[in-house]
Symmetry: C2
Subunit: 369 residues, 2 copies
């Protein structure tokens, strides 16, 4: 490559030739090594600190790197070599603008991100766009966490399994053999229903979250229930049925206050003697909507209508203190993160099911006389 005789005493001349510079001119570790007069292996060791390198050599390498304006080892090459990208995929149920309107999801992701940052990993958002295909199906992820998604996106799961990518799900049907992090949805819901029963309510209705990925909206029918695929909704429904076996209601379809408001308006616009005296909303956001609807109809909460939620989040703009179930959203995220870390370390994590706590508020009371 060079026709100069090598003058190598201690250092070969670093400018002996254009060693391994990228087309765009950026240096590589080889360039740096050449300039420092050491082998690429040594340069690598000096950079990563993984091997025994004399202080002298290390200084030389770092100096060369600085002179060449070297930005550090290429993450792409590192990833290939190590077989790890340092990226965890978070499969979310819808596009960002929709998914992130749910505080529970956000808190869960927050906990997850926090936990995996311990191993220096980052979170890649993978919205499930509903067409059976996840937007980023061939992304370089070390593991995937299904947060608020059902594992029924079979195509996706199959790909992950074939690629041998570890998987953890937050809330979901564990039939798929996936490690699951969940809370006691049924028990929590039962507590709320029992609370209403203890107060004396008999005409109680449910405002339900989505039952399927199609986000159907409409009356809660046996047919729809039997076709339900969203475990969370089904479990919470079951908890209510434990107390009120024949409870009916309306499917709001998603956890947003406007959906709750619309559902409640339908439930409340009936003759007063058929009107429910209490509404079990399956999320706090829905409950906020229900309360808004009640106020619009001139009903006082809790005098005319009792309302309970689920989640225990702080709802912006809702002054009331909601009677609800507090679930540890963030802890679910951290637990999922721990599970991922475990799996990446080759161990087998166990499913975690968190307890929930009843959180009394001022939105429930005895039924109107």
């Amino acid at each position: 490559m060079t026709r100069q005789p090598e003058a190598s005493g201690a250092t070969g001349r670093g400018d002996a030739g254009v060693d391994a510079a990228r087309p765009d001119g950026r240096p590589t570790l080889a360039t740096v090594a050449a300039r420092a007069g050491v082998s690429p292996s040594t340069a690598s060791l000096a950079f990563s600190g993984h091997g025994p390198v004399s202080d002298d050599t290390k200084a030389k390498v770092l100096a060369a790197a600085r002179e060449l304006d070297y930005g550090g080892p290429d993450p792409l090459a590192q990833s290939l070599r190590r077989g790890r990208s340092g990226i965890i995929g978070a499969l979310i149920p819808a596009r960002i603008g929709v998914s992130f309107r749910d505080p529970v999801l956000i808190q869960t992701l927050d906990g997850l991100a926090e936990e995996i940052s311990a191993i220096g990993a980052g979170l890649l958002l993978m919205p499930d766009l509903g067409d059976g295909e996840v937007s980023v199906t061939s992304a370089p992820v070390d593991a995937v966490v299904l947060v608020g998604c059902n594992a029924d996106a079979l195509g996706t799961l199959e790909v992950l399994r074939r690629r041998n990518i570890p998987m953890v799900q937050i809330e979901g049907d564990d039939s798929a053999g996936v490690v699951t992090i969940s809370v006691d949805n049924r028990g929590g819901s039962r507590l709320l229903a029992q609370h209403l029963k203890d107060l004396g309510h008999e005409r109680v209705a449910i405002v339900a979250l989505g039952l399927d990925r199609g986000r159907t909206v409409g009356p809660l029918t046996a047919e729809r229930e039997s076709a339900a695929t969203v475990t969370t909704t089904v479990e919470r429904l079951a908890g209510a049925r434990d107390v009120y076996p024949h409870i009916g209601g309306w499917i709001a379809g998603s956890s947003r206050s406007d959906a709750g408001r619309a559902a409640a308006l339908t439930l409340l616009d009936v003759p007063p003697n058929e009107r429910p005296t209490a509404i079990l909303a399956q999320s706090d956001l829905l409950a906020a909507g229900v309360i808004a609807a009640a106020e619009e109809r001139g009903l006082r909460v809790p005098e005319d209508l009792s309302v309970v939620g689920f989640d225990g989040i702080r709802v912006d703009g809702l002054e009331r203190s909601l009677t609800t179930i507090r679930q540890p959203s963030q802890e679910k995220g951290t637990a999922a993160g721990r599970a991922v870390v475990e799996m990446l370390a080759g161990r087998t994590p166990v499913a975690v099911a968190f307890d929930v706590t009843f959180q009394p508020g001022d939105t429930t009371g005895p039924p109107p006389a």
Copy 2:
């Protein structure tokens, strides 16, 4: 999987040895190629569809892949070869749980994600944890978008520059020579101030967003203003000053209704003849808090106090229609996405500055007599 002898005439024996299977047993493209009796290059061509491959050969390769349960080309290897990871980093100002409470940020990210999904890229969340270091500094990203972050995280920028990673910022000081996507913060703010002035207001106060990354809270002083680093806040302040040169106020520190409420309580708890008759909140969320505070103090909006916001988002739980400035949050995201795509294609995008529109609501009126 099958012990049947290969019936292939023209092909070499595929089971001649354990060709290139990973330690964990997963097959590689080489394994598949061997099994199909073709060379790795041909197998690659068959998979990607980039070269001329006979239907016959392609079918053989796909069949072999299926038999071996091959999950497709390893993204890590592809990334290295192509020099692209298909991942765009989104630098957000704080941890997820905090950042994502801001609807404007969410909408922007939504637009961004949407736009880059066109080139099959995904979004990696990189929270700026404030310690000068971004959590994922050596992540395999093809480009980085600073969304709601100031480019003053110099250490981070330096790293990106050295790595030759394209960068786009959404709202920010363009001194850094970074492509910037922004809206007319100053003009919008001026419109709002002028609106109040036209209504006859003289005692007007500001509830400001954060001025620095430390999220200082407290009275708006000249000293603090001159040390401000958050361009958005400074620009909106300047717009107000264009109309009310000596306007003062309170720094809420962040865009959340509770921060707005706290700030407003301070501003309103003064003798009635000193009390502002109008408050310019620098975001809709802050405005919602201001309204809540006013109601707590028994002040009617807009009869006793006019309130304006900024952003034009739908605030959950706020029944009122806020007088505000509508900014195209989502479009900012898509514009940033387009800029990223441009840069990755080797072209040079230009800065985009969106116009804003005045959106009258029912929270402003003439000052009390």
